[in-house]
Symmetry: C2
Subunit: 413 residues, 2 copies
């Protein structure tokens, strides 16, 4: 569409079927939050849940809450809940530990399934912690495994019969480019490799169909589009066909066949719980349920449709109003190929992002030069897209980003 004025976007908000969800989140006055792809906003009910888990379950229930408040089984009960959001069966998912640690477990499990192969295919330019975790694993295995780094356009070709497993992130953390889960997984299976997917930037932002794509293992964080809270324990998926056969090295008592018998030696339970190690950070895990429950009430197809439209509009408006200041689209132009974020490149991206922050437009910076804008359809309005571009235009036109206070080195963003 050709947008001429803020009123065009206000009109879209009036007919947005998801508009009611915004009322379930806290959004600070004067903030346009374009960073839900990094940390989702707080659902209002999360405050009440935090109070309950601390002041009621911990304070009054004490250790008894392991049973009475269901703490002990939270990883599986929340896994069962979140499963449909990623197209998984109810017994295929747990919520536990951090994303990177879960990635380590599933890649270790995948490599065990192909003991005679030595190559892992990864997209080298994607979020590097995945590379780091796999590098740590391979070095520890000390059997000559290597990572074959490939980018999107060479991904299918990189998967050949030397490959033990692929470990691929569905949506690129910087560009938002979507990889074809079905095609890449099919190629992996065709050559006898296991398929591991990282859904950090897709879970909750678009339909994901792990079962439909026949994916073997997957991980995802829950604190981005799922709004589970800062550092909430991560999702881990193992296709049911591997249950009872896979192994993973972080073998703790939660994954034991009889955890309360306190046997000396490990005996794996044989289902998805085998991916659990030990006691989970209960406050964080319990709070995550709130974001999951909201997500379950939303139509993921409506989320995807709004996401594509918002990012399309953002690109259109930025290019319409800011092209003369030198901003280069890094993300795919075709919405079908793009996640729920848009990145623009500018050599002065860091001070520009800081100037945007000062005006309440929260986006982030990913070196080198990427200004990254995330669009969480559950709580953003179309009008926010207009306002964000308005601020960006003002900052660029006035050269406000050249002020001394913005000329500092990139820190944590």
């Amino acid at each position: 569409m050709a947008v001429k004025a803020r009123t065009d976007l206000e009109a879209l908000d009036r007919t947005d079927p998801l508009s009611g969800f915004r009322n379930e989140f806290f959004l600070p006055e004067g903030v346009i939050y374009l960073n839900g792809n990094s940390l989702g906003a707080m659902p209002l009910a999360a405050a009440e849940r935090a109070k309950r888990v601390v002041e009621h379950e911990w304070a009054r229930g004490l250790i008894g809450s392991m049973n009475s408040a269901g703490w002990y089984t939270l990883p599986t009960t929340l896994g069962r809940k979140i499963a449909p959001i990623v197209g998984a069966g109810p017994n295929e998912v747990v919520l536990t530990d951090a994303t990177g640690i879960n990635l380590y477990k599933v890649v270790a499990a995948a490599l065990k399934m192909q003991p005679d192969r030595r190559v892992v295919v990864m997209e080298g330019s994607n979020f590097p912690t995945n590379n780091y975790m796999v590098q740590g694993l391979l070095e520890q295995l000390d059997k000559g495994h290597t990572i074959r780094f490939a980018e999107a356009d060479g991904m299918l070709d990189a998967i050949d019969e030397d490959v033990a497993a692929i470990c691929i992130t569905h949506v690129h953390y910087k560009t938002g480019n979507i990889l074809d889960m079905a095609a890449i997984t099919a190629k992996a299976h065709a050559v006898g490799a296991a398929a591991v997917w990282d859904l950090c930037h897709s879970a909750g932002a678009m339909p994901v169909d792990l079962n439909g794509c026949n994916v073997d293992f997957a991980v995802a964080c829950t604190y981005k589009y799922i709004n589970g809270g800062p550092g909430a324990p991560a999702l881990l998926y193992v296709a049911e066909r591997h249950h009872g056969k896979y192994t993973q090295p972080l073998t703790g008592w939660y994954g034991h066949a009889a955890p309360f018998e306190f046997e000396r030696d490990y005996r794996p339970v044989g289902d998805i719980r085998q991916m659990l190690s030990g006691t989970q950070p209960t406050a964080s895990l319990s709070i995550a349920e709130i974001g999951i429950d909201i997500m379950l009430r939303a139509d993921i197809h409506q989320i995807r449709e709004k996401s594509m439209r918002m990012t399309d509009l953002f690109i259109e408006l930025v290019e319409q109003r800011c092209a003369q200041f030198g901003v280069e689209l890094v993300s795919p132009r075709d919405a079908r190929q793009r996640g729920s974020q848009v990145s623009f490149l500018n050599d002065d991206g860091y001070p520009i992002v800081r100037a945007l922050h000062d005006r309440g437009v929260i986006c982030d910076y990913r070196a080198p030069g990427n200004m990254r804008f995330g669009f969480a359809p559950l709580y953003l309005r179309y009008a926010d897209v207009w306002d964000a571009v308005d601020h960006l235009h003002d900052i660029l036109a006035s050269e406000a980003w050249k002020e001394d206070r913005y000329q500092v080195r990139a820190a944590v963003t």
Copy 2:
């Protein structure tokens, strides 16, 4: 001392230098909480902290709280705080992940230091998740490593020049027996092995001197005597002399030399942060600071003295009043040899523990037959010891534990 009446214990409470700490905790009306060795009670200030981290830092600060609220550095800032509680230097400790996962990291690091040796010494009867984690690690290494299980009396003899590392829990989870950290570590070093200690049942309950004992690596949970909250991230210690030399396999971006450069390949930071993988469960981690702050204000020698006296009194009273019903002391009789817990054996331990719960005496059961009573000196009163024994006596004398409702199979306790 020979205790005759509750008033003798009330007198001890009146002169207890730690008595003021009880007011900093929430303890439910009518509950005698003898399970602080499993999950510590809630400090009142933890409720306010939970509210702050969720409703202020998350809701209002959003992703900016990574910097402005110090989320990103919490693992090291809290590590620095907690370090003196275990006799560590300020740069030797982080708070991160779960205890078992941290154990995996440090044992992996320890084994790397002795690449030609194949034996790990562990106390097989201790909390089995440690065995499981090391078994998972050794199976993954696939180099013929084995665990040599030894019990307390044979521990020193089990440590010979085949041993790459020892991985020992300081205080036994079931009996409360204390192992001699200085002597066992010295023996390990004498034969060229690395010493890994698990402080789950000693951190916060007694003086621990990691530096003084020259320990190489250690882990501890923070949700028992340190009152960090359910499943709070765990302590991990690496002696400074190993910094820059050790490696661990769970290599994530938090341990990278330049995490915000997003380099493709892992470069270890070379200090304690190298033990970090990724984003932590922030609500749980932040709340843990409250318990740590309280512990830092308490005199650990007073804690230990009160702990020894309480457990002495408990043993004396149970044996005085309940001996005829068949309760056998499992814990060491000498307080100097005993942690802050006492276990008594009875074939009907499980229904007895359930009957105690019904009367507000919260203790736990560890198969087979162990009734385990923990004494957290910060919030327990000497009079509680009397009352707990009173209930135990009543249950045994009246045979209340034989009621049908208590005759169920052990579940999570």
